[in-house]
Amino acid sequence: MSLDETKLNAYLDGELPTQEREWVEQHLASSPQAQALLARLRQEARQTDQGLDILSPPAELHSAPVTALKQLQARLNLDHQASSALRGTPSENKLPLAWESPTLLSEITNVLRSFQIRRRQTMKLLTFKHRLALMTGLSLVVMAMAAFLILQPNIGKLITRLAQSASRPETTTATPSGVVVGNDGQVPEDITPVSAIFDGKIELIGYKLLNETITPGNPVRLTLYWRGLQPIEEDYTAFVQLFDPEGEILMGFDGPPGQAPTSEWQPYTVIDDHHDLVMVEGLPSGNYSIRTGLYKSTTHERLSIRVSEMPVGDSIQLAQIEVNDGAVGMPAEAQQMITTTIVFDDAVEIAGYQLFTNTISAGDAVRLKLYWRRRPAASAAYNSFTSFIQLVDSQGTVLAEKLTPLPMPQANLGAWLSGQTVEIPYILPLYEKFPTGEFDLLAGVSTVAQNLHLPIYPDIHQAQNITFLSRIKVTDQISPASSAPRKAANSHFAYGIQADPKGDTAANIEHLVTLRFDWVKLEMSWKEIEPRRGEYDWAQWDEVIGAYADRVSDVDINILLTISEAPDWVRPADDDKTVAGFPADPAQYAGFVAQVAGRYKGQVQAIEIWQEQNVFYEVGGQGRVDPAAYTELLKQAYIAIKAVNPEMIVVSGGLVPTSAPPPFAMDDVDYLRQMYASGAQDYFDALGAHLPGFANPPDALYEGGDYDPTRGYDDQRSFFFRNTAEAYRQVLIENDDEAKAVWPTQFGWPVLRNAEADPPFTFAEENSARDQMEYTVRAYQMGQAWGWVGPMFLSNLDYNITAPDTQLAHFGILDTPTYAMLANRSAGLRQTGQTTQPSRDQQSPSAPPAPTGITEENTGIVVVLDISGSMAAEDFEPNRLGAAKTVIQEFIAGRQGRRVGLVTFASQVVGQIQPTLDHTMLNGAVQAIQLSWNIGVDSGTAIGLGLDEAIRMLQDSTAQNKIIILLTDGANNSGNIEPLAAAQTAKVQGIRVYTIGAAKQGPARLPFPDGRVEYRDSEIDEEMLKEIANLTGGLYFRAEDTAGLQEIYKRIGELEDSQ
């Protein structure tokens, strides 16, 4: 016996039998070496214990076992309730059911329904859901059901079924709200088929429009049905756009189709994609059209579409919507877009243009959009272009010119891609004394580096490098029109952004034009303007506001001023001057803002009264947060502003969403309620709101709990954009004040710009540039769709340039993909080529055959295949799954004229195809089957669920001969349907189940996705598989290699053919 460290360690651990222990002790006594080793092991053991002690549960975080047991039993009851409802048979469970009442079941159904609604919005966060559970009270019901639902791939079906068993046994269709449309491989029969194939990978099967005639103000409810035709590696973004009768884009939504990343789609699983297109009031009557398409999320490159093998462009028209409001339509200003192809040196081309009126008064501006397309052959030498438009008189003299760079290669975004079209707006101002007459509008492109005009190509006129677009007529200035008050609607959605008033205003104005944003927010510091009583310094502000407000007479940039930071001389003597604070007398603030309102009348459209006044740092220190005091400030400011400028929109100061306790802060929603209680209602026109998103997507909805304990900003409502916005809206409704819009005066997602950032902001690390881009675009879309949101002010445009060391820098979007995406938000969406609207009655070539009432076939077969991780074992060639796929394909090939369906399962049912005669499609689906790994570990095997799904597919079939062929390599260890119970159901239904156990005897090599390899013994539960077969009149087979498997399927085929 040797005294090695393992033995010494076991000695330390008290794991040695007495005899050995004594031996070790003797040996130790005589060996200094062994003593040293023991000391070292002791040290290591102590450190290990010390370290791991840190992880031990503190006593107060321990539920009593009895309490925990009760919670578990409650959960069990719920699970059983749901699963018995699922099967539609009375429960035979061992555990007693606490709730058998139909009312409770319908309550659960309602919970499920509302959960389903939310699921659309919270895909990202729901992945955490299964391990989030505070198992108490009502939340128990919601959470347990959520956890249960997570395990169900076919939630929609489940819900429908639950609803049926609860109350409406005959109902088979989804509710008209569009809520209950499951991803269950089936498409409602009443959809409008489209069958558009995108790059051969994705099919838009069709769509369903719930209302074809609508009234403005009501949403158009549209559901698109997508499916993948193969496993998709990339993520694609779908756009859905609404065009007005003139062909102008009214609104667009971009996002993953059905809120599920396409890379996570299972082939042939139908994804339903719901959209509410809100049509604002005041739209002219006429036919509006909806178009959709897909683009690569990374490059924005659109996928080309084919319908019946015919290319139809890169977007497709879905429906015409008739708007009927009885109102007189507004005269359309814009001309129809003109499609053309003017090629410049085979580098770029003008694909089309759109001119907004060709009769212009002096002092006005020529407004034009050009659609520039990068040529496929564009060489790398031509990477930076400047486009120009000119107004030229008959002598060839250039009287006005506008230069605008075409998109540059962006570090993060990739270059302007070949074949991609961008839309560039041009505003060419004509000075007031511009000569009247007719002029030519010309366009061209030059390279930045060489300052050369690119020749038009191919063209016989060698010299030509400028193209004629249109003849423009300039008339005398019409004086009164341009001084009409700006339209600054309080309740209409608009794009806005915060800019630094000390930044490069001229550049920022250009950015706003590029972005096509209507609003800018500027923060005005009272103490900087009036540092000492009566000493005002307006110079900088006059310049900045003048520049934004007066640049071009007919292009509106509306301005929101946020006015806070009282100078010290006006503040109470005893407050904390290291933070911002109110003046001692609210009248002094009212006097100041009234001066601003009067001074910038006609230039500034809205004033936000203070900001973040529910936190100590804006109100003079800890313990001074006081909604009543703020209400008084708001009231006096409102009265003073309206006295000098009734048109000024007064916005209440945006609050900080927070749950920080006094003396630091007050909950923002409580604060708002207290403002109403103090009589604030009549003293603001719009509700300011700060809606920071932290690192949570804008559509994520916080519903309690802590999604991820390692993140410090997802366990509270206030960390969620959507929760905060909806909570404020709720307060408005409570106070009958819902006519007021919510104005998000600050929202955004920071991306960490520098490593030395303030610690509080390092959560910005979690947001990638792409997250910021997607979240921001989505947030605007949500605000627009809600219909009760006014201008939304993104934080921010340029602070990353002007103030790189501050917190605001992380939010800046200049030179980021977010900027590019926003600038491009409708440019990529403009159609330049011709498109074809598919005929509605055209039958999709690859759609599954419509179910028919009369079937001549007398056989229905469902192949049920285990795809859990262990199917990667290599005892078959190339592995178990690969062999099974090949053999199943052969089997299908031999079943001509018979309906065959498919179910794949691991710890849950993963994919399913209803028995179909379309064997080509089925073969493709089999080919596409992939292993289902569960986070690096082998996934579970839910034989019962897989079997149950197959039974359901067959139970409505009229076939005489119904069979299921189940292949697995494991034992049932997942799911809540016992395989034998399912077999019993099969027996009752007259379905024969053949079972196949596929695994060699002895250990098999099992490689994991992360490179690990294990050797595993087969876990086939042969007894169970035999019993299933016996019970249902099928047979059990054991396959130990590919040839054996082939033989088995052949045998089953023969047996069935002989039936």
Binding site: E44, Q47, R75, L134, A660, P709, T710, N973
Partner: protein, 193 residues
């Protein structure tokens, strides 16, 4: 529960459970709950998650008691439960997107959020937990599991069953794991010896 059932051995309880007896499930639950919870909590460091995962472990037992192979010794049920516990807990841990760091907890200060007790102490303790988890995350899963289970009070024999390793190798694997942990611990907590 009556004393009779409490007195029954694990083996007997599992047999009864497999025969469909609910009370024996309750007895098994009460007997093993704390240790399973302790294992999962060490992994997740959070009450809500730990309770949820612990429930899942026992749900598995409840749904498929036949998976426990009954042998003469009682270690099998315990080993099975601990194996499931450590695996489930580990899965959750792996799937967490990011590891905790004190910065993120500080993010709660903007805007302010619920901080109970002394914020500085809270942050300190969360920081330590995060660092220990980081150490475990850097180790091979088997070694980390071994340490966690040992620290949760499992004997060598139970460890062998729970982690499906040969009883003879437990000692040497554990020695090795402790050494690696101790080394990492020293560099992560230089102030503690």
């Amino acid at each position: 529960l009556d004393a009779e059932q409490t007195a029954l051995s694990n083996v007997e309880l599992v047999r009864q459970l497999q025969a469909g007896d609910e009370a024996s499930f309750e007895a098994l639950f009460l007997r093993h709950y704390e240790r399973v919870y302790g294992i999962v909590f060490r992994l997740l460091g959070n009450k809500a998650d730990a309770e949820d995962i612990t429930q899942q472990v026992f749900l598995k037992l409840c749904y498929s008691p036949e998976r426990i192979q009954v042998q003469q010794e009682g270690t099998n049920i315990a080993g099975w439960l601990y194996r499931v516990a450590v695996n489930e807990g580990y899965n959750v841990l792996r799937s967490q997107r990011r590891r905790a760091n004190w910065h993120e907890k500080l993010a709660r200060l903007w805007p302010f959020s619920q901080l109970s007790g002394d914020p500085a102490r809270l942050i300190e303790s969360q920081d330590s937990q995060a660092r220990v988890r980081q150490i475990l995350a850097e180790m091979k899963p088997r070694e980390a599991k071994l340490l966690l289970l040992r620290h949760s009070g499992l004997s060598y024999k139970e460890l062998a069953v729970a982690l499906e390793i040969a009883p003879g190798s437990v000692g040497s694997l554990l020695t090795q794991a402790k050494r690696i942990f101790a080394r990492k611990y020293q560099s992560a907590f230089p102030d503690k010896e």
